[in-house]
Structures are given as C-alpha cells and as structure tokens.
C-alpha cells in the first residue's frame, strides 16, 4: 500500500464547510450543469483521446461554463458540450498545434463516398477494442459528430449547434464517419484479441 501517494490523490476536498450555505449560483450550476459532468468528460476524452488531456480540458471547460452560466439558454447538456468543444479547440491550438490540420474542412470533402453501402461485416461481431480504436482514429470532425450522435444521442439540430455547422453538414459528416468506420473495420477482423467472455 502506498498510502503516502494515495493521500495526495485522495485530497479531501469537502467542497464547502457545512456552516456556510452554498451560494445560489453555485448550487443552481451544480443542479443544472454538473449533472452532465460525465457527458462533458466523455466528449473531452474522445476529442483528446487520452485521460490526462481530457482531465485538463474538462476542468477548464467546467470552470468556464460557470463563468458564462448567465448565458445558458435552453438545455444545459448541449450548452455544456459546446463549451467543452470550444475549450478543446483552444486547448489543441496551444498544446497540439500539429493536430489542427484535422480541422480543415477540405479534408471532409475529399473523403470519397460511393453510392453502394460499404461491405460491412456483420457489425454485431465487431471486436470492442478494434471498434474503439477505429473510432479514435477517425478525423476529429467525424469523430465528434459520431460521439455526439451515438453516445450522447443528440439530435442533428443540437449537434449542429455544438459544432457550429448547418444541419446538412452534420448529416454528411455522420454519413462519412460511419462509412470510414465501416471501411476501417471491413478488413477481416481478428476477433481473438478480445478478453471479454459474454
């Protein structure tokens, strides 16, 4: 047991002493926005593709959200997610400038689309690990559309607002995301790598 190291990790952050009532904005923020902490983290994690950067981004995003809390109109979850995304974009330009090439919309346009559906192997047999790796390997604009749609179950309208593009663009990005995924998984897949016995 490395208790010394643990106690650093497990800093006891009893947020507010009991005798001091939570201020109204903080309590409202917690009730409305922090309910969606997992959604914020999940998006940040898929955008940054690693735990450490996701932690930085989500922390920055939540604190920003609190500062702009007055600007919240409508549903809290898409609002928070748009702040996570914007925080990520700022963060990546400063910390990972090489990755910003992914934002080039021209890239979106050169992905070919065939009229016939791709030859997808029965999707239910996809290996979990390979599927996760394939999603992580998608270019940013496709990856974020896919995560917002499939994992957050958001409407095209919400995704359009969060990613700041027209609904038609959301539709084409999703179509291409799924197509790219199918292509990268379409090669004969090696199922033996999985550990999970279902």
């Amino acid at each position: 047991m490395t208790l010394a190291a643990d106690s650093v990790l497990l800093h006891h952050t009893d947020p507010v002493p009991l005798h001091k009532p939570l201020s109204e904005p903080k309590r409202r923020f917690e009730q409305l926005v922090l309910l969606h902490f997992d959604a914020a983290y999940n998006l940040a994690r898929w955008l940054t593709r690693n735990d450490h950067d996701a932690q930085d981004v989500v922390q920055e995003a939540v604190l920003r959200a609190f500062r702009f809390f007055d600007g919240l109109r409508g549903e809290a979850r898409p609002w928070l997610l748009s702040i996570v995304r914007n925080t990520f974009l700022t963060w990546v330009q400063i910390n990972r400038p090489a990755d910003t090439v992914e934002f080039d919309d021209a890239l979106v346009e050169i992905i070919p689309t065939d009229d016939d559906g791709p030859e997808i192997q029965a999707a239910r047999n996809f290996d979990r690990k390979m599927l996760n790796e394939a999603i992580a390997a998608l270019p940013l604009l496709f990856r974020e559309a896919l995560i917002l749609r499939e994992l957050e179950d958001l409407s095209y309208k919400d995704i359009a607002r969060i990613t700041d593009v027209p609904i038609g663009t959301v539709m084409s990005r999703l179509a291409r995301a799924r197509r790219l995924l199918a292509e990268s998984l379409g090669a004969p897949s090696n199922i033996s790598g999985t550990q999970v016995h279902k």
């Binding site: 208790l3 497990l10 800093h11 952050t13 903080k26 997808i120 996760n132 499939e150």
Partner: protein, 261 residues
Amino acid sequence: MTNEEANRLLNAYIDGELDPAKSLELEAHLAENPSVRAACERLREMSAAIRDKADYHATPAWLEARVRAAIPAGPENVSARWWRWLTPVGAVATDWLRPAASFAAVALVTWVVALGTMRPGEDERITQEVLASHVRATLSNRSYDVASSDQHTVKPWLSARLAFSPPVADLSASGFELVGGRLDYIGSQPVAVLVYKRRAHLIDVFVWPIETQKSEQMSTRDGFNIEHFAKNGMGFWVVSDLNRNELDDFARLLAEQGAAL
C-alpha cells in the same frame, strides 16, 4: 426515388431525422430494393454496435470532486476577482486563452485545499485503502484482471488465487452488470474485488472473510459513496461514484443474493 438518393437519406433515416413524408417514400423504396435495404440494415447494425461497444468514459470521481471544489462559492463579483487574481492580464476575454496558467492556478488551489483538509485517521484505514484501490484502478484504467460478465468465470478465477471463495452474484437483471474481477491487498491481506457497472459508473465490491460481525456503515468521501456490510462470514465494502440511492439498492441486492450463494 433513385438508389442513389435513397442511399443518401439512409443515415438521416436511421437517426430518425427524416421528415415523415420522406420516410414513407424511402420505406416504399426499401421494400422494393433489397440491396438498399441491406445497406440500411448494415448501417443500423453499425449504429447499434457503436452504442453498445464504444467506451463511454466516466469522469474519475476525484476529478469531479476537484472541479466542484474549484468552483467559487461566492457571488459573481467574487468569482471575477478570483479570476483576475489568477491572470495578471485580468481581461475576461483573454484569460481562457491562457489555459496553462489557469490549469496551474487550479492545481495550486486544489493542492492548498488538499493540504488544509487532509486528515488521515487510523480507524479509517480500511475505508481509505478500499477507496484508494478503487481510484487507482479507475485512474489507470485497470479495473479488472479478469474481464467477464459471467459469474462462473469470475468466481473460479478469484477462488484459484485466494484462500477463500468469494460469492459472485449475478445482478444483471437489476441493471448492475458484472464486468470482471481483480485481486488487491487490503488490511494486510489479499482480497477479491468484483467489478460491476451501472451505466458509466464502476462499482467495486471488496470481499474477504471476517470474524467479527461489524455493523453496517455508509459514508461519502471525495464524491465516492462507500458502504460496508457483512454476510455469512464475509465482509463487503462497496465503493462507487454512483449516487447514494442506487448504490443502496445495489448493496441490498448484493446482501440478499450473496447470502443465497
């Protein structure tokens, strides 16, 4: 409708984003065109596979606790001053352009808070250790040594490595999915850790034989809920960032089912 047009609409169709008139038109087309219908099915399966298998990354509870603690509790003008203090430039529009500075400041605040409120107590050693084990496993993404949703895989795996055989309950019918098990070392002895999942929340159940029948306890630490109870000579410690109500349900089911095993 041409096949080309139909294929173009398939994504919006499976996402439920097509208007009713277009949907009807597309469905009529699908009925007559097996190849487009097959493409539609594959797309649906792809979507279902992503929803089923893509990782939904849960927030590490320590992170949520840290961020919550960093949110200023005072009124807005206090928070503005707080931020100005963090960033010498002081301009609201530019401070978030300096994330490195903000991150460092938040880390500093957290560290100070941590120093001020740390209170290790000898009597809480077990609670500390199970919590530490849970956080460490979550942090390192290494929650289990054996990954299986099958109790008949997890139990023998653990039994083979321990001097006792932990009860492994199947609670999937109640929405608590078994995802695996691991070994750990708590209170100077090897123990079994059963890992369950509820939505994106991992639940660690630490099990080992105990002699004294201790009373039930529950507590909350750093945003984690912790429950302890004993049944049939086994002590159970349950740790999760799941909310208290659901974790109570889980502990109750575990006590009932664990007793039957």
